[in-house]
């Protein structure tokens, strides 16, 4: 592999790689704002400038491919002076919002100012301000904080495919906005907040809820559809506050759709059933023993059909496969999850970016285990046991007696005989299989709420209750 020198260190590179990436692989940080590996290079912020032998002017590392024998200095006096001066230029109009800004603690402007900027400010002229128009339900705009890196513009145009975020006016007055107060149209609006290096574009969903440095992070996978985008769950004290994309160049690159990003709300929602319930003048909370009793009574002596949500993990589905014949002899098992998507063959891209038609994450995994898709209730079914991970859409049960095992919300199950609460996708480890047949791991990020139990425990309790009779 060809080599160049960066700060006296030899660095290998692939032909065409820009100096930021080459330096990164050599363990050297070159600061930047406008550069993003997923977007076109514009070399506008001028923060990544480095000194290169035989070139009179400082060069932007983002737009300079490494060449054999190139000698690069990232911390020469000239390079350092330029970094400090770019930081100064960016801060002269930037409001001192850190104490109230969501981005604090994970802000490129803060971090780079601390590392590469000056200690003092000498700007005494009047600061430029803007009037913010609303941008819709996902993104909160604060144009005064913007440093004009144009990542958001490029994201909208190049990735989301909608030329809705634009720069208007020019020069120092340039404003980056949607026009006429239009809300953002894209289903990928959350990514605008991810790419923004300051608190100019933030998530309304997260606004003022939690300081970034209190959040504990878990690497997992989104359950929003069969794409299997890599995701990071962020929580504090067992409450999920935010889900962000995790880089995976083979699946979702750096992006998440809004449906997947905001899917987590049901996990901590007050309407989620996390205490066992059964019918007692309406669906009422009770204890595990009483709920199990009611559940067993509901299916005793009846022809049972078992519906297995394709939002469950491979481990849970495998468990069902082995336990159901014992617990519910003669019961037929089907997987369900998305209306209109009966089998893996029905799954297809739902847009040109990430989304798939199957709105559960493990449809392909369940088919691999041999389960068939639910089309109609088998004739003569008198009771149905519905297993659900939290996302699957329960089909119309046509008034058949039902018992829920897993994650449900009150309004969904008012008529159920009993519900035995289980674990959502952020409360358990497990394997799911995406549309390409790729196995990925869910990882537990928070503890099970209330009295929710893992499926294995629920089956054990049911079995021992049977045995006790």
């Amino acid at each position: 592999m060809p080599k160049c020198m960066i700060d006296g260190r030899e660095a290998e590179f692939k032909p065409g790689q820009n100096l930021i990436e080459v330096a990164r692989s050599a363990g050297i940080e070159i600061p930047y704002f406008c550069y993003h590996p997923g977007l076109t290079v514009v070399a506008q912020c001028r923060m990544c400038t480095v000194e290169i032998d035989k070139m009179a002017k400082l060069q932007t590392a983002c737009s300079t491919p490494a060449t054999e024998g190139m000698v690069v200095k990232t911390q020469s006096e000239r390079a350092k002076k330029n970094q400090a001066s770019v930081m100064e230029f960016l801060l002269i109009n930037h409001p001192l919002d850190c104490p109230i800004c969501d981005k604090s603690g994970e802000c490129d402007l803060q971090d780079n100012s601390y590392k590469f900027g000056d200690l003092y400010q000498r700007y005494t002229e009047e600061r430029r301000t803007y009037v913010d128009l609303d941008m819709g339900p996902v993104i909160k705009k604060n144009m005064n904080r913007c440093i004009h890196c144009t990542r958001c513009i490029r994201f909208g145009d190049e990735i989301a495919g909608i030329h809705e975020m634009v720069a208007v006016q020019r020069g120092n007055d340039t404003e980056i906005t949607t026009v006429d107060g239009r809300p953002l149209e894209t289903d990928y609006a959350g990514n605008y907040s991810d790419v923004c290096p300051t608190g100019s574009l933030t998530l309304k969903d997260f606004r003022f809820k939690k300081r970034a440095w209190f959040l504990k992070k878990t690497a997992t996978v989104c359950e929003g559809c069969a794409k299997g985008c890599n995701m990071e769950v962020q929580q504090d004290a067992n409450v999920v506050y935010r889900c962000l994309p995790r880089e995976n160049l083979e699946i979702n690159k750096w992006w998440l759709c809004d449906e997947g990003r905001f899917n987590y709300h049901y996990v901590n929602d007050s309407r989620r059933i996390n205490i066992p319930v059964h019918q007692s003048g309406g669906l009422a909370p009770t204890n595990w023993s009483a709920a199990l009793s009611s559940a067993r009574a509901a299916v005793k002596g009846k022809k049972v059909t078992v519906l297995i949500g394709s939002d469950l993990t491979q481990e849970e589905a495998q468990l069902a496969k082995s336990q159901v014949p014992t617990l519910f002899p003669g019961a037929e098992m089907f997987h369900y999850g998305t209306p209109g998507v009966i089998s893996a063959a029905d799954d297809a891209p739902a847009d040109k970016i990430l989304k798939r038609k199957s709105k559960t994450s493990n449809l392909h995994g369940l088919e691999r285990l041999g389960f068939k898709g639910f089309t109609a209730m088998p004739a003569g079914t008198q009771a149905v046991v519905v297993l659900r991970g939290g996302r699957a859409t329960v089909p119309d049960l046509k008034g058949v007696t039902a018992v829920g095992v897993g994650v449900f919300s009150k309004p969904q199950v008012e008529s159920f005989a009993a519900v035995l609460p289980g674990l959502s996708f952020v409360e358990k480890d497990g394997t799911i299989v995406n549309f390409e047949g790729r196995e990925q791991k869910l990882k537990k990020a928070i503890s099970a709420p209330g009295q929710s139990k893992p499926l294995s425990d629920i089956f054990k309790l049911w079995a021992s209750a049977e045995a006790a009779r």
Binding site: V41, V42, A43, Q44, C45, R46, M47, T49, K57, L58, T60, S63, K81, N82, S85, V86, E88, F89, L90, I92, N93, R122, Y123, E125, E126, R128, I147, H148, T150, A167, Q169, R170, G171, N172, D173, T174
Partner: protein, 422 residues
Amino acid sequence: MSETLYVQHLNEEARPLAYYLSKMDGYTALKKAFTMAPDDITAEVKKSNLRGRGGAGFPTGMKWGFIPKQSPKVKYLVCNADESEPGTFKDRDLMRYTPHLLIEGMVIGGFAIGSSIGYIYIRGEYTREAKLLQIAIDEAYEKGYLGKNILGSGFTFDLTVHRGAGAYICGEETGLLNSLEGKRGEPRVKPPFPAQSGAFGGPTIVNNVETLTNVPFIINKGGEWFAKLGKVEKSGGTRLISISGHVKKPGVYEIAAGAMTVRQLIYDVAGGILNDRKLKAVIPGGSSAPVLTADEIDVIYDIEPLAKVGTMMGSAALMVVSEDYCVVRLIERITKFYAHESCGQCTPCREGCKWMEDVLHRIEHGHGREEDLALLLDIADNINGKTLCALGDAAAGPVTSFVKKFKADFEAHIRGKRCPSA
């Protein structure tokens, strides 16, 4: 005075095709060009030492040579008629008085580089000139000097006038190309250069109006002849110089390249200082050129000599300032221009130009501070050479030169807390 090519034709009578044909050897160069190989045309232009007349002074023949011959992509020849550098008004005269020179130059240029599609990007404010250009283009189409199979050569060339809409930055060649494509006129990251990927992704040459109008002369009389017209080694031909400001005879003058000093241009050509006042400052190459004091005007007016003394010839626009105008006020206005025209893409220019304007404004209006001069020099230094395009340099250079060379004027403002001439 030595031979002039244009200036005798810069009047209303010269515009029609009939005049061009009978009095200016119109379209004879084109006929001759069609008997030459395209590469030989480029070689002739290289020999001529013709340098870009827009401001950068890049050798034209060399630029034409950068077009990749084997490229399957559509090639474009674009004329930069955006003329917006303050002090410059020579291309305007060429377009309204001798438009056919430009048309013929473009057809020959297109033939040389292998392009059949030409655009004239003309600044939006030149509404009348755009109309006159279109009339000339219509004449040329009618008589077969434009369109398909020109003069039976088999070569096709189509020419379209494309109006800008008020943005100095569209005079920067990649800003121009973005504007031509229907976008904001923001300059592009280079490389790739226009010769590789320019208009609509195709190999493109962008040339100034005056540059292209020289091409028919070069083809008719030869590159060597043209080179010899110039009085300095590196520059061939004559230059159209726009002289304005506090002179008795402002206007467009044609001088052999390197034939005169700045002093001669001011006092011999332009008649000396208006009202016989004392000379204070000279801006030699459009407002982007660092200023010269009255003691620095014995320099030869050409590209290399001016660069050697720390300024530039730029668009060959000489602006003369007598003691009758405050130089601090002047550099404030110049800096306001750059802040207004900055496209806003890159940090140093977007933030720094406005900052310099604000500081200069304070100084001019009596609220300057002792530390402001060092501050201005530092801001300018932080902009210079660090921006995506040359507009940053164009703003920083003049500020640095005014602050350094007229320090006493600035200090008088700061200490006296007012503009002494207000």
